[in-house]
Amino acid sequence: MSTRLSKALEFANYRVTLNNQNAALKAKTQNLLSYSINGGTFVIDLPLLTFCKQLIDLKHKDAVLLDSFDNPIKVELKAFHKEILSRWFEVTNDYYAEYEKLRRARKVHKILDLNEKEE
């Protein structure tokens, strides 16, 4: 096999590994952004965060929110917002750190955080 072809194949292998690792990281992030309270399950996202903040700013104490099953769930807004905001920061900061590590990795063993011998 010519050097050029083997390099192209090596790069293809790297791209597939990178894409899959990115997808695995997204799966982990999505999992961690799911939050259950009072019998309902919420996905922590920007609309939920901003809507809760807006309700708090409008001096609401409790509110009924629709969870990911579209079931109405009553929550105490301040505590709920505090919890989801803290989770959001924790999860997205970890995601950012891991993503940056992946972005900079240029070899399969670096993507997987392995020693070269183990590859």
């Binding site: 590994t17 690792q21 695995a24 799966a27 982990k28 999992n31 019998g39 399950t41 099953f69 997987l112």
Partner: protein, 298 residues
């Protein structure tokens, strides 16, 4: 054993000639204790599987992992008849007995008010399942699933047949003891007892009895013949297939996986999987890394 407002996990583990399901259940029990912080674990097995595990792992380790073992002797006729192909990657395939007939008894056997029914090969690598407890939905199962190798597509796993009902996975089932759920499990038993009729009616492929089919039919029936009427669990079901392999366990929540390339069968790429529960369908692969996993969590 019955406790008020108790919560627990139930698994079924009946060994066949090659697969040590009970060992998988022990490994998973330690993972459950570690990640979910739950000690109430029931494993339904048969005396032969238990005796083998006691010889292999020792009684003390089993006792530490599982606090309630229920013995249910095998139906030999079913065992002989229900044979499926087990693969240890594309390179090895074997016809072995698939003993899954008593899973529909989970409701009756479970001593808990809230139960999560798990496959022994569904490795708990996170605390996501703790979100199920005290949920408004009294019964939850997955129909959403995702292959860990994102490029691969298995369209025939979404429905019982190409034009059929949505396929639910009985891999993870959350249920509470309520009259509705009791009827649901009775419906599963009815489908199991009349599987030939329901196979013709719902046109699922093959002769093998699978709980995924009977749970799907029961879910369809019990939701008033509405599609996806039983709610999804708070997590997607992530899977690797029996054509994949596990290289090693890096720590108690991270696995290095060999995933078969979609356009090059028998050829693999490596992936690190961390902090998300995973259904590993290559049973030999879990048994191979079970010692490493036990070192981390036992």
């Amino acid at each position: 054993m019955k406790k008020k407002n108790s919560r627990g996990i139930i698994m079924f583990a009946h060994n066949n000639d090659e697969i040590d399901y009970f060992k998988l259940a022990v490994v998973n029990s330690f993972l459950i204790q570690k990640h979910l912080g739950i000690k109430n674990i029931t494993v339904v097995t048969d005396s032969h599987s238990l005796a083998h595990a006691e010889k292999e792992l020792g009684k003390a380790k089993i006792k530490k992992a599982i606090n309630n073992i229920v013995i249910s002797e095998k139906d030999r006729n079913f065992k002989r008849a229900n044979i499926r192909i087990y693969k240890d990657t594309s390179h090895t395939a074997k016809n072995l007995s698939f003993y899954n007939v008593n899973r529909c008894d989970a409701y009756d056997i479970s001593p808990y008010d809230e139960t999560i029914l798990l496959d022994a090969d569904y490795l708990v690598l996170s605390d996501t399942l703790n979100q199920c407890w005290d949920h408004n939905n009294e019964l939850m199962m997955n129909w959403k699933w995702q292959d860990v190798m994102y490029e691969r597509k298995f369209e025939n796993l979404d429905r019982l047949n190409d034009l059929g009902i949505t396929m639910y996975w009985a891999t993870v089932v959350y249920f509470r003891k309520t009259p509705y759920v009791e009827s649901f499990f009775n419906c599963v038993k009815h489908v199991k007892d009349n599987s030939q009729f329901y196979r013709d009616l719902y046109k699922w492929k093959g002769r093998l009895y699978r709980n995924d089919y009977s749970f799907s039919v029961a879910a369809h029936t019990m939701s008033g013949f509405v599609d996806k009427g039983v709610p999804q669990l708070p997590t997607t079901l992530y899977k690797t297939f029996d054509t994949d392999d596990v290289h090693s366990a890096v720590d108690e929540e991270t696995l290095l996986l060999y995933l078969e390339k979609p356009r090059s069968p028998g050829d693999f790429m490596i992936t690190k999987w961390s902090g998300v529960d995973l259904h590993v369908m290559n049973k030999w692969a879990i048994n191979r890394i079970s010692k490493e996993l036990l070192d981390y969590v036992a």
